[in-house]
């Protein structure tokens, strides 16, 4: 079991990771989700042993491994652009880790073939890796990481360079390989679809801190902050000001909040209004806006109001039209700042 506690790291004087703590249990897949440049890759490299944390501890099965060099950790890392060895063919790439373990020829052969079978690459053993397609290279990288039977798999945006269709296909494959092998994994990505597909638990990394953690469903259902809601695209994040009697004033009009949320008049609040809870109402509604844009999306229309508020309708409305909105009151969520 991997336990990180209070990891700190800075880059060129600026703090990159500010006290990261997390645990990865047996057979668990963790996704670190966050925008690019947020320190996700650095955290992965610290776990791999390629970089050192300035503070904090990396603990594996009860032992501090901060000073164990990468080649003695037996963790597998899949790089964003695969880092396949260009002078070796597919077989030798996959066999590299086994040769480092000084296994016998026969065993190496068996285990390479088994790994290639796992990723569905049988028949390509003697191909040069530079002649492979992006998807095939990605699988070789996976097979190479799996072959030495690592204690922990680390993924650094491994599907980032592929097109969408291939990504979805490989994602499904990866999910089943991870479930079958039972190897714990940490998967770094900025793509919430990837994270939600693979993760047992998701951790959102923002400004060097984990701002929220939980199962994909939990995180999506109850984002802790406006930033998380916006990053996940959970809905409209609307700023408002508390009036009296649980009323909140926004640029789209006044909405009613649950009464127990008593706060001083005039204090600011952040609300999450999901598009699925928005209906069109009549013009006398306290909530209204002017239609700025209507976008056709296969089975529905996305309506965007001035100010950026959006929701979906099955029939189009006219641009420039003023419309009233109806929102189910219980569904509006208050978010932390």
């Amino acid at each position: 079991m991997l336990i990180l506690s209070n990891i700190h790291k800075s880059y060129e004087g600026k703090p990159l990771l500010r006290g990261i703590s997390l645990e990865v249990g047996e057979g668990e897949t963790i996704c670190l989700l966050g925008p690019s440049g947020g320190g996700k890759t650095t955290l992965l490299r610290i776990i791999a042993g390629l970089e050192n944390a300035e503070e904090g501890e990396v603990n594996w099965n009860g032992k501090d491994i901060s000073s164990v060099p990468p080649h003695k950790r037996n963790f597998g890392l899949i790089f964003q652009d695969y880092a396949l060895f260009p002078h070796l063919n597919v077989f030798d790439n996959v066999a590299f880790g086994l040769k480092m373990q000084k296994l016998g020829r026969e065993e190496i052969h068996q285990r390479v073939m088994k790994s290639l079978q796992q990723v569905d690459l049988i028949g390509l053993e003697s191909r040069d890796v530079i002649d492979l397609s992006g998807g095939e290279q990605q699988r070789v990288a996976l097979a190479r990481a799996l072959a030495p039977r690592p204690h922990l798999l680390l993924f650094d945006e491994p599907l980032g360079a592929l097109d969408r269709k291939l990504r979805e296909y490989l994602l499904a494959e990866l999910r089943s390989i991870l479930q079958e092998s039972g190897v714990p994994a940490i998967y770094v990505t900025h793509d919430q679809d990837e994270a939600f597909t693979l993760a047992d638990r998701v951790m959102l990394l923002h400004n060097g801190e984990i701002v929220q953690r939980g199962t994909p469903a939990e995180v999506y259902a109850r984002p802790h902050s406006g930033w998380v809601a916006e990053f996940l695209g959970a809905g409209n994040v609307v700023q408002g000001k508390i009036l009296k009697d649980g009323l909140v004033e926004t640029i789209f009009g006044t909405v009613k909040m649950p009464v127990e949320e008593r706060q001083a008049e005039g204090s600011p609040v952040t609300l999450l209004i999901r598009p699925r809870d928005v209906r069109i109402g009549n013009l006398s509604s306290p909530l209204r806006g002017t239609v700025k844009d209507v976008v056709f999306q296969q089975d529905r229309f996305k309506v965007v109001l001035k100010g950026g508020f959006y929701f979906y309708l099955s029939d189009p409305v006219n641009v420039g039209e003023e419309i009233g909105l109806k929102i189910e009151m219980g569904k509006i969520q208050r978010l932390a700042e």
Binding site: H71, F85, P148
Partner: protein
């Protein structure tokens, strides 16, 4: 539209795209023929004709395969190979760590040091020889200082005229090749490959032998072979720093031609020389092809880092010191020595009198009695400038049409291209020998003419001129013209605003290149220049081989002038180069 009509309109399009495609073959290539004719005619008369004369003389002569000539050939071939291998190994010994230094670390003054290591490659051999002489020679800084310090009677360091001096100068010349070729490969090498191997269980040592080394091997081999090729054909360095007792093939050709007057043996040596360089060149281009197939990815600057621990700092410091001593000191010693009076006057060697002097420069304008020259030494500079001017004019006149043909080459252009590059493979001394054999009697009796020198220089400069013009001319993309036209420029205006600035820069760079080549050329010139028409390099050579402090000082002064001219040219060429293009 009927099929016939379609076919016809397709035909029309074809005609439109290459206007002459329906013309007969000789007519189709008329443009090309016109562009190639002057250069081909020139190279036929002044390169291939002398070469066939060398072959003819060799084959027809009875001495050609006599035991004595074969012995000379075998001896000099043996020594040539020996010193070339040794030089190459030493160059790798300095160059590989230097390549690592430049590819992986960031330190203050890096850009400057890198530029300085590249300067020697273009410096004339006489300048390099004079530089090492000024540093390590019996009258050089080091010896004079040590003699004064330790109160010695004779110079303690006697490296001049030894194999050591030759090797040192070769390392000085060619280290930059290793730094460029291997350094480029090293900085293109994705460090994640090493990291990947580390995570798969390889310790740093095995990661190096299994990943780094195999990936660099083609570049190391290519660099080594190129260095070997340069060392193999080295002439000036051996003659000036080793002396005639170290006779490589090149030096032996020179000696047999000028001192023994044994042209058949010189011809034999030239043929061996040509065959060897041809073989090595073919091997080299094979290897070069390999290096380009095995490159890894990506831009590099982000991976440079500063030293992390003490071991790295010691490595960086040691390397900078070595590179500074090797590349900067000789080039610093030379100009300083040319303005310093270091010898004690009139046998009074109690104190080293160090004083600044401009005597050596003043002497250049005086025609002394008893000097080997019939003219003041400054005449040599004027001769050199005149020859360089002629070389620039001739090589541009013939090179520009060829380069413009090669900018958009058709089949014939591609076929003819390697022909003009062939002189690169022949050594300058061989060229000089060919001129002597071919043009010493009718129909072309030019041997007394001072024109021979710039003609030889033009043969040597022409490939460089073409190769530096061609990419610039090819780089003028149609898009620029279209963009200019869309922005409302007329075609004349477009030519002046788009084509002309690029062409002008390229021509200026090519001219500077030809000028530099001619100014410093020593191999062919040493065989062809008449005593009363010396060039700067031949004058320096003669001054260096004379005794006396004044001669020495004048050699230093002229070498300094040549060094400054060449260095300025190199920086000018570098400045004129279009961003993102060129390199070699």
């Amino acid at each position: 539209m009927s099929t016939r009509k379609v076919a016809k309109s397709a035909e029309k399009k074809k005609v439109f795209s290459s206007r002459s495609s329906h013309l007969s073959v000789p007519f189709r290539y008329r443009d090309s023929i016109l562009r190639w004719a002057p250069a081909l005619l020139f190279i036929s008369i002044f390169f291939f004709y002398p070469l066939t004369k060398i072959l003819g003389l060799g084959v027809n002569s009875s001495v050609f395969l006599s035991p004595e000539s074969l012995q000379i050939a075998l001896d000099s071939l043996g020594f040539t190979l020996y010193q070339a291998v040794l030089s190459m190994l030493l160059t790798l010994l300095v160059g590989l760590p230097a390549a690592y230094l430049f590819a992986r670390y960031d330190f203050r003054g890096k850009a400057l040091l890198r530029a300085l290591t590249a300067v020697p490659f273009m410096l004339p051999t006489v300048v390099v020889a004079a530089g090492f002489n000024a540093l390590l020679g019996p009258r050089g800084w080091l010896n004079l200082s040590l003699m004064n310090l330790l109160d010695l009677d004779s110079p303690p360091i006697n490296i001049l005229y030894t194999l050591g001096a030759i090797l040192l100068a070769h390392v000085f010349y060619n280290t930059t090749i290793v730094i460029r070729v291997v350094g480029n490969a090293l900085s293109r090498l994705d460090p994640r490959l090493i990291e990947a191997s580390r995570l798969l269980g390889a310790d740093p040592w095995r990661a190096f032998w299994r990943i780094t080394f195999p990936l660099l091997r083609p570049s190391i081999l290519a660099a080594a072979l190129l260095v070997f090729l340069f060392d193999f054909t080295s002439f000036g360095v051996i003659l000036l720093l080793g002396g005639p007792k170290f006779s490589t093939l090149e030096v032996e050709i020179y000696i047999q031609t000028l001192q023994m007057l044994n042209l058949p043996v010189a011809a034999l040596l030239s043929i061996i020389q040509l065959l060897c360089t041809l073989t090595f060149s073919i091997l080299y281009s094979r290897m070069l092809a390999q290096t380009s197939t095995q490159v890894a990815q990506q831009d590099t600057e982000s991976r440079l880092r500063r030293s992390k621990n003490k071991r790295e700092r010691i490595f960086i410091f040691t390397m900078i010191t070595i590179l500074f001593a090797l590349f900067v000191l000789p080039m610093l010693a030379l100009p300083l020595r040319s303005v310093s009076r270091l010898e004690a006057d009139r046998g009074d060697r109690a104190d080293l009198q160090t004083s600044l002097t401009s005597d050596y420069y003043n002497e250049l304008f005086i025609n002394r009695r008893g000097s080997r020259f019939y003219v003041p030494p400054i005449e040599a500079a004027l001769n050199s400038l005149e020859y360089a001017g002629i070389t620039v004019a001739l090589s541009l006149l013939m090179g520009f049409p060829v380069a413009s043909a090669l900018a958009k080459p058709n089949r014939m252009d591609r076929f003819l291209d390697p022909l003009l590059m062939l002189p690169l493979g022949a050594s300058a001394v061989t060229l000089g020998l060919g001129f002597i054999i071919a043009f010493s009697r009718p129909p072309l009796n030019l041997i007394a003419s001072p024109w021979l020198v710039p003609l030889a220089h033009t043969i040597i400069a022409l490939p460089f001129v073409i190769r530096s013009l061609q990419p610039a001319l090819a780089s003028i993309p149609q898009r620029y013209r279209e963009a200019a036209a869309m922005l409302g420029a007329s075609s004349l205006r477009t030519w002046f605003t788009v084509d002309f600035p690029i062409v002008f820069r390229a021509v200026l760079a090519a001219a500077t290149f030809a000028f530099t080549v001619s100014l410093g050329e020593f191999g062919a010139t040493s065989l062809l220049a008449r005593p009363d028409f010396p060039t700067i390099p031949t004058a320096i050579y003669r001054f260096l081989s004379q005794p006396g402090g004044l001669n020495y000082g004048q050699a230093m002064a002229m070498a300094t002038i040549l060094m400054i001219l060449t260095t300025l040219s190199i920086f000018l060429i570098e400045k004129l180069r279009l961003p993102g293009r060129g390199g070699w």
